[in-house]
Amino acid sequence: MNPADLPPELSNTPELVLAMRQIAQGPLAAQVQAIDQGTYPREVMQQLAAAGGMSAHLELPGQRADFGLAIKAMAEVSKVCGSTGFMMWCQAVCGLYMQTSNNPDLMGKVLNDHVQGLRLGGTGLSNPMKSFAQIENLLLKATPVEGGFEVSGTLPWVSNLGPDHYFGAIAGIEGQTGQELMFLLRCDAPGVTLKACPSFSGMEGTGTYAIHLKNLFVGAADTIASPAKPLIAQIRAAFVMLQCGMALGVTQGAIDSMWAVEGQLGHVNQFLHDRPQTLQAELDALTQRVMQLAETPFDKRTEFFIDVLDARAHGAELCLRAAQSALMHQGARGYLLSSEVQRRVRESHFVAIVTPAIKHLRKEMARLSAQEMPA
């Protein structure tokens, strides 16, 4: 087919996004309710990864990193299923840790399998990120031993996990205040136990577990960075920026469901505020802002990071408003247990509370904005 024959909306859409759309509206849409209630969509995740949906932001042979494209891919999937969009982010940042590690043992085949979706993984950096923002203390402790470290402790609520998955984690090194070890934690390693979490109000199929560690040995092969802070400083903006994909997608899904009832209910919906065209204009402006930020994901300036945090906060706020307004627009039909509209309300709550939550973002922006003075 000649691309010029396509409607303009399609011809401007990147191939990767079209591939995501096909999977999202096909096999993913068929099981989205089951995922909300607890089914982990392993096959769909692998299909999305194999199509390149969780690696557009990585430098790969024959591919330049494109964070904007990675965000668009996540948004396309999040429009249909917020849970899967979130797990794409988990897989994507885990890949980013591996690539940024410069550790040959974590690049090469390991990274390649990850990119292809042959192996899946997540990120346990919620606690360390809050620790670096002076919100809570590090929960994992690493003790230096011959050839590496032994790590113990418990991390609550790490997602996109399964018995053979792995994730990036950070432990404080005992006896070395302010020094941390960042490593790839393999769920099947000796000393690691996955514990089921209590029920959440939604997004139950995200493979979320508590992780118990007892004397887990971490050697050079699984070390991502030690000290960890320079690597975190390098990727912090990219880490937060990629989450915007979820917010943009869930918001778009909500707006689409408002239009879906406009024909029948427009005569009453016109009395609501946050109408779809208003929200769409705000979403388009935000998307443009995020795409611009995505051009320089490794800009280390504080002012740039504040911009990324603010765009992420705006995404969460807009997502809440859009999901709420979609329910008002759809009325009782949106309140049915089988309706995507009420599911999306819960997904929007997740976007707003997952680390960094709106309150964390605002606190961090305030902290980073404070004028520096001699101590």
């Binding site: 606690n127 809570e136 203390n137 929960l139 402790g153 418990t154 991390l155 609550p156 609520w157 514990k195 979490c197 209590p198 508590a210 118990h212 505020h273 208003t278 204009a281 705000e282 402006a285 935000l286 002012e303 504040i306 911009d307 603010d310 906060a313 705006h314 706020e317 605002r362 922006m365 305030a366 904005s369 004028q371 520096e372 003075m373 001699p374 101590a375």
Partner: protein, 432 residues
Amino acid sequence: MNQPSPPLESSVSATWLLYICKACGLIYNEQEGDPDSGLLAGTRFADIPEDWECPLCGVTKSDFELYTPPDLDALKQASACAPAARPTTHFNGARELPGIVVVGAGKAGWQLIQNLRTQWPDAPITLVTECAGDVYDKPLLSVAMSRKLDGRQLVKQTGVEAAAHWQVRLLPHTRALHICTASQTLRTTHGPVRYSQLVLAHGAESAMPAPLHPGLCWRINHLQTYQRFLAALGDAPRHVAIVGAGLIGSELANDLALGGHRVTLIDTQDRPLARWDADQAGQPLLAAWSNLAIRFMGSVQLQSLKRQGAQFALTTLEGETVLADQVIAATGLITPNRLAKSAGLRWNNGIEVNAQTLETSEPHIYALGDCISINGQSSRYIEPILRQAQTLAAALIHAAKPDAVLTNTLPPYSVRTPVVRVKTTSLPLTLH
């Protein structure tokens, strides 16, 4: 799991303690135990086996800590007594009537509010400011030391008092982050604020050319930094290095020396106040200072600034090193461009505004004070602010009520070369 020790008899009845999970916030109550995991009511925390898990999130006993529930009444009381930390709400029209939003509670912001309120009694006004919003005369910061004024004595009215007086919704300690022009929203660290007209009055901030660094030297440009500087200085006489012998640097040198401190005043020029070449004020000023502990180091370039023990070492390109207890940067002002950039405002050595209306290049956004420029000229003095505030109040009222008849019609703001009075009390000067 190991078998826990038998629970204490309630007759033993020491106070039951609470322990909180640091990961998820679950509270273990000794009195209730955790029967689901085999801990009978009355099981002391100390008697819980180490491998017991938080029933909510799965972390272990070591991630719990003793928890004393807060006194809710006291918390509510404390929160009511600390209004400066919270927005004041003098109107509830946030959604229906976004109103005028002013960023910055310096002279420019408060002066505009005063002019607006006088002419438009029911205008909804929100003031967003990084500080507490206290009303004070900033020029006094460079003469406060010799007058033995601490920060509190400089405050004429607290932000909360002024907000109540002028019927303004105040968002103190709030940083404005980004302007979304399409949705007319100002994004802040306390959430988004809608505006119908936005006024930028955030001023300028001290420049910090290398090798100066904000972690090593003070910028006496705000009441809060002045107070922190005073605290750092302490009670004993100190040696203070001031970099930059312009207006502020010279005033501060004069003031600190009169306050009993030793001052080294450093500049690239060969005399103070060299920018006002025609006035030739430098030499007479140095002569007037001859009895004060002020050493002027002219015609030097700073090469490095480093901590050295409890002091700071400033080294010049010429090889001289000055050891000072504190360092002040008085190296001029620059206009922050975050908000202007986010809204795509035209920029010309500051936020470019139309002299007729003080409107920026973007509809519904205005600016006044130290952050603006007219024909590429910025102006950082008090006198122009008074006239700008009159012009801007009229423009805002006209924008909101095109048919309103203004009680006093004013000419547009015009740029005049300011006359500068230098508060170097040893030799008060007027510069042109």
